[in-house]
């Protein structure tokens, strides 16, 4: 079961990268990068999970002392989600500029980027 949980995160990262490699449209590439990023969130949260534990927020219904899941990985993941959305926005703005300068967003047709 550990293998299944961590394997899902790993699968999402690989599938995202496969989408980037196979892509014929730069916007599709950017969305596949977002999918790969979400794979890392799944791995992080799977590391912190504990069976039978509750969310790391104490209140009258879960007084201090109840077992909670790991809050450090949650803190890392939640800032990461918001910040990577803005980085996705930066990538999309770049794609729009590429479309204006070169007239196409098919990666195979972009001669200027050819190595």
């Amino acid at each position: 079961m550990s293998v299944f949980a961590y394997g899902t995160g790993l699968w999402l990262v690989l599938v995202g990268v496969f989408g980037v490699v196979r892509s014929r449209n730069l916007i599709h590439t950017v969305v596949c990068v977002a999918v790969a990023q979400s794979g890392t969130y799944v791995v992080l949260l799977a590391v912190g999970y504990q069976r039978g534990a509750v969310a790391p927020i104490f209140s009258s219904s879960s007084p201090p002392g109840t077992p909670v899941v790991d809050p450090v990985v949650q803190a890392m993941t939640l800032t990461d989600i918001v910040v990577s959305a803005t980085v996705t926005a930066l990538l999309l703005a770049l794609v729009i500029q590429v479309a204006k300068r070169h007239g196409t967003i098919v990666p195979d047709e972009l001669h200027a980027l050819r190595g």
């Binding site: 496969f18 201090p64 809050p71």
Partner: protein, 248 residues
């Protein structure tokens, strides 16, 4: 590199990666296990600082410097994106954008009713970040998307009126400046940069946990302004900016 060459390189790389990561998975702690040493120390520290929401306490109190860095990344990428989305030399920007045309009255009503509710909900999520699930990041995004309900209710000119862009650009700067001011206040009080220097109060009250609610409000202002400015850049590109006649 041709397409097939790309796939071959990808295949080899993936095979090696899967082998390495697959063998690493067997060395990770079991999924759902009970040994989480960081959890024990951070929960103890958060309870000492009277913050019921341990995640917010980590973000804004124990690891405040990392949040400062993430906020700087957010500011920088919003800046980069809106610079890229400015109208170019050979483009004009229309001042009057036509209305959307026919909208369902039900959609319009739902948008107008939900707009103040979303804004209040977003402010609540930001301010109660140290007591309930929430905080500056989530509340800021809820505030920004709530504002755009006026666009969903059918009227881009209404959104433009609600959203004088200059104020939101100032808002981003105010948010960042607020965090720096909190950090300097920590230095001036004799503790470190971004240390928690206000009194921590009673557990579970709104005014408690020291500087955490203030940090959360500053981040909420910055994230909300940043997302509004970002979406404004994309909306202007689509609806208002067009190539000058004869240049393309």
């Amino acid at each position: 590199m041709t397409r097939t060459a790309r796939f071959v390189v990808f295949g080899i790389g993936t095979a090696v990666l899967v082998l390495l990561l697959g063998s690493a998975v067997f060395h990770l702690p079991a999924f759902g296990g009970t040994s989480h040493p960081y959890r024990d120390s951070t929960v103890t520290a958060a309870l000492q600082r009277r913050a019921p929401n341990v995640v917010t306490s980590i973000n804004f109190d124990q690891r405040g410097l990392d949040t400062f860095g993430e906020e700087a990344i957010l500011l920088a990428s919003v800046l980069g994106a809106i610079t890229l989305l400015r109208p170019g030399k050979d483009e004009t920007q229309r001042q009057r954008v036509p209305n959307a045309g026919r909208m369902l009255q039900g959609t319009r009503l739902a948008g107008y009713v939900l707009l103040p509710i979303s804004l209040i909900l977003g402010a609540d999520v930001v301010v109660h970040g140290h007591l309930t699930p929430g905080g500056g990041f989530q509340g800021g995004v809820v505030l920004a998307t709530g504002l755009h309900l006026s666009y969903v209710a059918g009227s881009y000119p209404a959104l433009r009126r609600l959203r004088p862009l200059r104020w939101y650009e100032y808002g981003e700067a105010i948010g960042m400046g607020g965090v720096v001011a909190l950090g300097v206040a920590g230095v001036l009080a004799g503790a470190g940069f971004l240390a928690n220097v206000l009194p921590t109060g009673t557990f579970g009250q709104l005014v408690s946990a020291g500087t955490v609610p203030l940090f959360s409000i500053a981040i909420g202002i910055e994230v909300a302004s940043g997302v509004v400015v970002l979406l404004a850049g994309f909306l202007e590109q689509d609806l208002a900016i067009a190539a000058k006649r004869g240049s393309r």
